[in-house]
Amino acid sequence: MAALLSNSARVALRSGASATSKAGAAGLTFARGKATLPDLSYDYGALEPSISGKIMEIHHKNHHNTYVTSYNNTMEQLQEAQAKGDIAAQITLKPAVNFHGGGHLNHSLFWENLAPKSAGGGEPPSGALSKAIDTTYGGLGEFQSKMNAALASIQGSGWAWLVKDKQTGQISIRTYANQDPVVGQFEPLLGIDAWEHAYYLQYQNRKVEYFSAIWDVINWKTVEKRFA
């Protein structure tokens, strides 16, 4: 998170905007040291029928924006605590940094690993990533089944990710509670939001249908770039 704080210039590392963008930093926008809500590269209705325009609009403009605002508020409090040398206050703020910062990171990555069908959404991966999926899971279909099972098994709010192990280069599926971000040993490649707000207006309790439909709008090109 220190890297986020030190970002003073406006940086827009959205897909294609920078050849040096790395997974974890891609998609995050900042203005004068503050996190800002990144624009979507497609219209709210562009992911229909997999995800309704209404869901996309509320999810982006309200939910994601609340994470951005709360993250910035938390950072202000953290900077005050740092200026005062108040260690206890800094430690107290850690869960809020994790939750709101994680919410901002996760959603920024999520929007980018989705794409309308007209922009290649759902087109299967190729190259090294495709090979890694075949080797690890025996094929794209098998991978999708395992990812869907992981998503369905989340108890409460959370995310499922295809990740890359930084030590071994291996890919695997991991689930994270609430807004816990993919950090440390693993790099995020592909994330799917399993919070109820991500699907409820359209699918209600039938979340399995959402998990099944979202594959039609997965942007594998983005996932390939993150893997490379």
Partner: protein
């Protein structure tokens, strides 16, 4: 095993000796049914009916939310709880310790979901009903006043805790250590139940499915609305007598 409601720290608390007849006269019970087959009789939990109509909590909670929440969400916890209990029985009969251990989280989650929702339905009541009047909770009201000063201060503190929850979970007013104990506000994550011997006086479901179709991301309005449909008479009973007299499990 405690004969009380299964709000123990571990899932052992769910494996309680059931009475054969649910106490339909009481204001709260977890219902269950017997299934007989050739070799053994086993019990399965069944969805308890709501004590009011699906639209009775409007305008605070819409009919559509109540229907989905009760018929789909609560029912799914019950189905998965029954499946886990059945899997546990066969694992126990074959002495399969790894499977027994692997089942604990499923039991906790789905058993907690069943318990929490059963408590929740019963600590809500349509606005304007007799039980909705805080005058029906004299002992509890006094205890709230001595703990928080005023009812409003309590509600503010309670609502703030609800809104601070990160992710899915529940907010509870609990009586610590048993009936007529010190009051406290606690939150539990996902479907974790309130651990005994603390008594859940009332609970509020903060999962998004509890409010999203009506309030979207505006959960503060949902929380503000809930205060208008608390079943104070039920809360008073739980506070004064604990759950033992209400739940015959």
């Amino acid at each position: 095993m405690s004969p009380k409601m299964g709000i123990q720290g571990d899932l052992g608390g769910l494996f309680i000796v059931y009475t054969s007849t649910p106490p339909f006269h009481s204001s709260l019970h977890l219902t269950h049914a017997y299934i007989h087959n050739s070799s053994m009789a086993s019990q399965t939990h069944t969805l308890p009916p709501l004590p009011y109509a699906y639209d009775a909590l409007e305008p605070v909670i819409s009919k559509q939310i109540m229907e989905l929440h009760h018929q789909k969400h609560h029912q799914t916890y019950i189905n998965n709880l029954n499946a886990a209990i059945s899997a546990q029985a066969s694992a126990a009969s074959s002495n399969n310790a790894p499977t027994l251990i692997a089942l604990q989280q499923k039991l906790r989650f789905n058993g907690g979901g069943h318990i929490n929702h059963s408590l929740f339905w019963n600590n809500l009541t349509p606005p304007g009903t007799p039980g909705n009047n805080i005058d029906s909770a004299p002992t509890l009201r006094k205890a709230i006043a001595s703990r928080w000063g005023t009812q409003d201060t309590f509600v503010e503190a309670f609502n703030a805790e609800l809104l601070n929850l990160q992710g899915s979970g529940w907010g509870w007013l609990v009586s610590k250590g048993g009936a007529k104990g010190q009051l406290d506000i606690v939150t539990t994550k996902d479907q974790d139940p309130v651990n005994g011997p603390n008594v859940p006086v009332f609970g509020v479901d903060m999962w998004e499915h509890a409010y999203y179709l009506q309030y979207l991301n505006n959960k503060a309005d949902y929380v503000e609305g809930i205060r208008r449909i608390i079943h104070w008479a039920e809360a008073e009973k739980r506070y004064a007598s604990g759950l033992e007299s209400l739940l015959k499990l």
